[in-house]
C-alpha cells in the first residue's frame, strides 16, 4: 500500500488488510458480500498523521508526533488537541449510536403497526421517517446546544496555542538548537 503514500517515510508504511464480512441476510447489505477495509496507524511518525473516519463517530483519529526536544509549549498544545479529538469521538459515538438505535426501533414499530415483515424497511415511507427525525432533533436539542457551545470555546482556545507553537517552531527552536550545539 505504499503507492498512495508517496510522501511518507518508507519505514513507517501503514499496514492495511482487507477482511470480508460474512454473508449477511440483513436489509442493509442484502445478499452481497461487503468488503471491509481497515487501516492501522504507522508505528513511528515524523509528523502528525491523520487516520480514516471512525465507523460510528465519523471522527478521524490523529497520531501526533512527539519530538525528542519537545518544549512545554508544544506538549500543552499536543495534549489539548488529543483531548479535543477524544471528546469529539466520545460525543459522536454516543450520539450516533443513540440515533441509529432509536431509528431502528422506530422502523420496527412502524413495520409492526403495518404488519409487514421485519426486514422490509422500504415499506416505511419518508414521511413517517421524517416524524422520527423531527422527534430526534427536538429530544436532543439541549445536548446539541451544549456541544456547540463547548466546541466553539475549544476551537477558539486552540488558536492561540497553535500560533505560539508555530512561531516557536519557526524561530525559537532554531535558536535553541543552535545554543545546544554550542
Amino acid at each position: 500500500m505504499a503507492a498512495p503514500l508517496t510522501k511518507c517515510n518508507c519505514v513507517s508504511v501503514c499496514a492495511t488488510y482487507i477482511t470480508r464480512r460474512k454473508f449477511s441476510l440483513s436489509q442493509y447489505h442484502s445478499k452481497k458480500t461487503t468488503v471491509h477495509v481497515e487501516s492501522l496507524p504507522p508505528e513511528h511518525v515524523e509528523t502528525d498523521w491523520i487516520g480514516p473516519a471512525d465507523k460510528v463517530s465519523n471522527i478521524r483519529q490523529m497520531k501526533l508526533f512527539i519530538p525528542p526536544d519537545e518544549s512545554s509549549l508544544e506538549r500543552d498544545y499536543r495534549l489539548k488537541r488529543e483531548v479535543v479529538q477524544k471528546w469529539h469521538h466520545e460525543f459522536w459515538t454516543a450520539h450516533n449510536k443513540r440515533f441509529f438505535t432509536l431509528k431502528e426501533k422506530y422502523i420496527q414499530e412502524k413495520l409492526a403497526e403495518k404488519g409487514e415483515a421485519a426486514d422490509d424497511i422500504n415499506k416505511v415511507t419518508p414521511e413517517e421517517l421524517s416524524v422520527f427525525y423531527k422527534k430526534f432533533l427536538d429530544d436532543n436539542y439541549p445536548t446539541h446546544i451544549q456541544y456547540n457551545k463547548d466546541w466553539y470555546k475549544k476551537n477558539i482556545s486552540l488558536l492561540w496555542p497553535a500560533l505560539k507553537v508555530n512561531f516557536y517552531r519557526l524561530f525559537a527552536r532554531r535558536k535553541e538548537s543552535a545554543k545546544n550545539k554550542r
Partner: protein, 486 residues
Amino acid sequence: MIEQFSLIGKRPLAKTGSDKTRCQCPVAVAVFPSISQPWAYMNYATKPDVVVEDENIPTSHALAKGKDDTNRKTVKIRVPKNVRNTVTDQEENMKKNVDFEEKTSNSKLTEEVFLYIRKSSITVDFNKNVKLTKPIHVRSPRGKETLVIDLDYEEEVEVDNTNPGQNIESINEVLWRDTRLDYKKLPQYYMKLSKIRLTGLVVITTMAGYGIAPDPFSVGTFLLCTVGTALTSCSANAINQYFEVPFDAQMNRTKNRVLVRGHLSPLHAATFAVITGAMGISVLSLGVNSLTACLGAFNLGLYTLVYTPMKRYSIANTWVGSVVGAIPPMMGWTACTGYLDPGAWLLAAILYSWQFPHFNSLSWNLRPDYSRGGYRMASVVRPELCKRVALRHSIGMIPLCTLAPLIDLTSWWFVGYSIPLNVYLSYLAWNFYWKGDSNSSRKLFRFTLVHIPALLVLMIACKKRNNRQNATEHLTLGNVNEDSVS
C-alpha cells in the same frame, strides 16, 4: 426431578421426564430444568413464555394453536447483525451440541416465533427461515415468574450508509495520511476552503447588480468591486468551514472538506480567512466606496457570526441566510451608484425570495443528515412550513418582477419574458407543496439554478437606459465647449 414451573396466567404445565428439554423452536434454545412444559408461549407482555415442544409428547404446536384458552402473540425479534454474521448453521450447531446433552429435533413450528425484549434495542430472531442459532440461555429463577434470557453478545451499533465512516467511496478515505502541508496543492486547497463555486455565484450576482444599476459603467470600479466581493466571500466560507469541522465530518456531502480531511490546519484556515477578509474589505472601502465596504463587512459578520451558529439553534437560520444571499447584488448596485435606490432593494428582494425555493427544496432530501448532525432546518422541524414558504416565495416572484418597470428599472418587456420563468417556478413549487417527495424537490432545486441566471440576464437586457447616463455625458460636453471658447 423437574420442578413445576407455572407462569402467571397460563395453564398448569405437564411434567416431562427429561432433565433438560430443548425448545423446538428453530433456534437452539437451552432451556433449563424449570421450563419443561409444552404449553408456554411467547408473549409480548413483560413475562415472556417460551414455546417448548417435546417430541415425546404428542401435543404439537399446531394443536396448541387450536386451543381457545391460549393467548398467543407473535412478536418479531431480530438478532443484531454482528451476531447473525458470526453464527454458524443451525444444523451444525445442533449436531455439535456443545452446551447440551440431548439432541434436539427440528422444529415443528409452522409460524414465526420471535422474542422481543422491551426497552432495549435487543431483538432475537427465532425465525426458521433465517439460519441463525446462537444458543440462547433461558433461565427461570426459582420462585420468580419472569424468565431471564441471556444473550451474550456485544451490542454493536448498526449504522447505515448515511454515516460517512461506513460509506467508503475511495481508498483515500481509509488510509492514514501525513498532515504535512503539500505546497503544490495549496491553491487547490484554498479554492476548496473558500467554496470557489459558491463564491463564483455570489460574485456573479454582484456583477449583475452592478450591471443593472443605472449609473455609467466604470471598468475599474467594476473589477475592484468584483475582487473585493470575491475575497470577502472566500473569507466568509473559510470561517464557516473552520467552525463546522465535526459537523461536516458527519455528512456524506461535506465529509471531504479540507479541514475535515486534515489537509490544512485550523490555524491555517483561520489565518487565511482573516487575511482575505481584511483584503476584501480594504479593496472595497478604498477602491469602491465605503457603503459597499460596510455592506460587505455586515454580510461577512452576518454569515459567520449569526448564520453559522444559528443553524444549530433555530430554523430562522434560513431567513438569515436568505438575507446573506440578497446583499451581494446590493453591493454591486452601491458600487455603481453609491447609494441604495429602490432598484437595489427590489433586486435584493428578488434574490431574497429566490433563496427559499432554492434552499428548501435542497434541504428536503438531506433530512436524515440534518437530523443526525443536529442541524435545525425547516425541512426536518416544520416540513409543512418549509414547503409553504417555498411556494409562497415562488409565487411572490411574479409581483416582484412586475415592480421592476414600475420603478423605472426595466422596460415592460422584462415582465413579459420573466412571466413564463416565474410561472414554471411556481408550478414546480406547487408540485413540491402537494407531493413533497424527493422527485419534486429535486426538480424544483434544479430549476432554481436555471431560473436566477436567466432572470438576471433578462433584467440586464431589458434595462431602461435612462437620463442619468445621458445627463452625465451632456454635462461633460458642455464643459468642453465652454473651455474651448474661453
